[in-house]
Amino acid sequence: MRRVAARFCRMAILIIFAVFTLGPIVFLVGGSIMGDEEIKSYLGPVLSGQEGYAVWRLIPLYPTLRHVVEVLLDAPEFFHMFWNTAKITAGVLLGQMILAVPAAWGLSRYAFRGRKLIYQIYILLMMMPFQVMMLSEYLVLDGIGLVDTLWAVILPGAFSTFSVFIMYRFFAGIPEDIMEAARVDGAGEWQMFLLVGVPLGKTGIVSALLLQFLECFSMIEQPIAFIKDKTLYPLSMYLPEIDVGRTGFALCASLIALLPTLFLFMAGSDYLEQGIAASAIKE
């Protein structure tokens, strides 16, 4: 009985927090199927200086699919930008998988001269605000001739030190005796990385890539600074700001832009749950 009560309590707390974080989604969904007039009447006090206080309805009085149609059918640039984002994300994640994962492995499992220094540099670079680095990064990218191409946002993203930093900890946590055992079995260094490191560090890898993915989907500063050709802008640039008259449209576009990420969360969570389940079996 007490167990059930405790469980109920835990769930209740979690659900309260989930409501707190999920609130905006409800707002987005409601706004996406709400007519402009209705939105205006609720948000008028904030958006156009009417008297009173803003209110919101979870479900519109007069639902309409107009905004959905507008985004999906009448906004070709939306998909164009989506495609750019897809390219950027693919490039960055691929780069991360091929380069950052081994780098994190090398940094965490091997002792070599300069290892500490490299690690420090990685942390430092990760912490520098983008505004500060922007000009100098631009100069480098311009020097290589990458400014105004998608590479200008892909390459710095692919070499982001952030994911190395995250994966480092997970690789470092793998017990040395497992490595030793593999070594005794005659595994080479590369095999050990692929057969021991990657499977055991996969939660770390998945977490790092997931966070990197989010980064790609929300980048705004980098494209503005390094890309001039508006046909190369990613989806995150579609609505960096919301007009008063187009609130409904903007909310709907945001919601649609959000969908891939939500799907990925679900897929990713399956993966993580498997990890949890696997450790449960070990018990």
Binding site: M11, I13, Y110, F165, I166, L272
Partner: protein, 276 residues
């Protein structure tokens, strides 16, 4: 820890890229910090100017305060949630996704929601007045700071929960099993097993959370502009405004100072973690 060459070979390809795309620019920033914007060498003059600059001092203080308030709050809340989810098992896994959602919501929407909530005529004030209180201009008084703190936690909660959970995931189940056989309760196994086991990961998480405290800037800017209320005028505002007025020399010097502080803080933390 063997085979020195192999280690370097794993790291090298990535490191070369990092050098080109990130480290080289950083060195350029360092170089700029000792030159005037016009191009002549100025030694430490820029640093002197920056340290004596009221705007910079205000912003540095605010940033420090923000970090000191946010970090502990975020770490504690997220660890609490992570433990809850972990203890509830598979069914609660889905809830973890809910915590990640804020990260994916476009900044423009977040800003809109902020305005709706914290505007003088916003929903929060609607509730406050309905309960008999007086309306507060949340974004233009000292409360702006707490709004910013709240939004930072709201946004980064999922991030950190995921990291805590991944760390807990790495603890072998057998350890808990053994503890249970020894008669340890939930609380005991949390304090004697979970906490010590995730301590190495805590370092990562602290650094990442610290890093993300720099990223509330875009929201802060979109809601409150370049010159927000005193209490949320952060280092990024200064850096940004300096760049807007082409004072790259000052910006670089400020950045180098920030880098020094970060490096010191991180190595101190590292030392603490290693010594314990």
């Amino acid at each position: 820890m063997k085979k020195k060459h192999t280690g370097i070979l794993f790291v090298l390809p990535h490191f070369i890229g990092v050098c080109i795309f990130l480290f080289l620019p950083f060195l350029d920033v360092v170089r700029r910090s000792v030159f005037r914007a016009a191009g002549s060498f100025s030694g430490l003059e820029n640093f002197k100017i920056v340290l004596g600059n009221d705007a910079f001092r205000l912003a540095a203080g605010n940033t420090l305060r923000f970090t000191l308030v946010c970090l502990p709050l975020l770490l504690v809340i997220s660890l609490f949630l992570a433990v809850l989810i972990y203890g509830t098992g598979k069914t609660a896994g889905a809830l973890k996704n809910a915590f990640l959602v804020p990260l994916a919501i476009p900044a423009a929407c977040v800003v809109l929601i902020w305005r709706l909530l914290f505007h003088v005529h916003g929903m929060v004030n609607g509730v406050v007045t309905a309960l008999g209180g007086t309306a507060v201009d949340w974004m233009n008084t000292g409360s702006a700071f707490y709004v910013l703190v709240g939004s930072y936690i709201w946004k980064n909660l999922g991030y950190v929960v995921v990291l805590w959970m991944a760390a807990m995931d790495a603890i072998p189940g057998t350890v808990y099993e053994a503890a249970r056989i020894d008669g340890a309760g939930r609380a005991a196994s949390f304090f004697y097993i979970t906490l010590p086991c995730i301590r190495p990961a805590a370092f990562t998480i602290v650094v990442v959370s610290f890093l993300n405290s720099f990223r509330v800037f875009r929201e802060a800017y979109l809601v409150a502009g370049n010159y927000p209320h005193d209490s949320i005028y952060l280092l990024q505002h200064v850096f940004n405004n300096w760049f807007m007025s082409l004072s790259v020399d000052k910006m670089a010097a400020g950045a180098v100072l920030l880098a020094i502080v970060i490096c010191t803080a991180v190595s101190v933390m590292q030392r603490m973690w290693e010594n314990q």
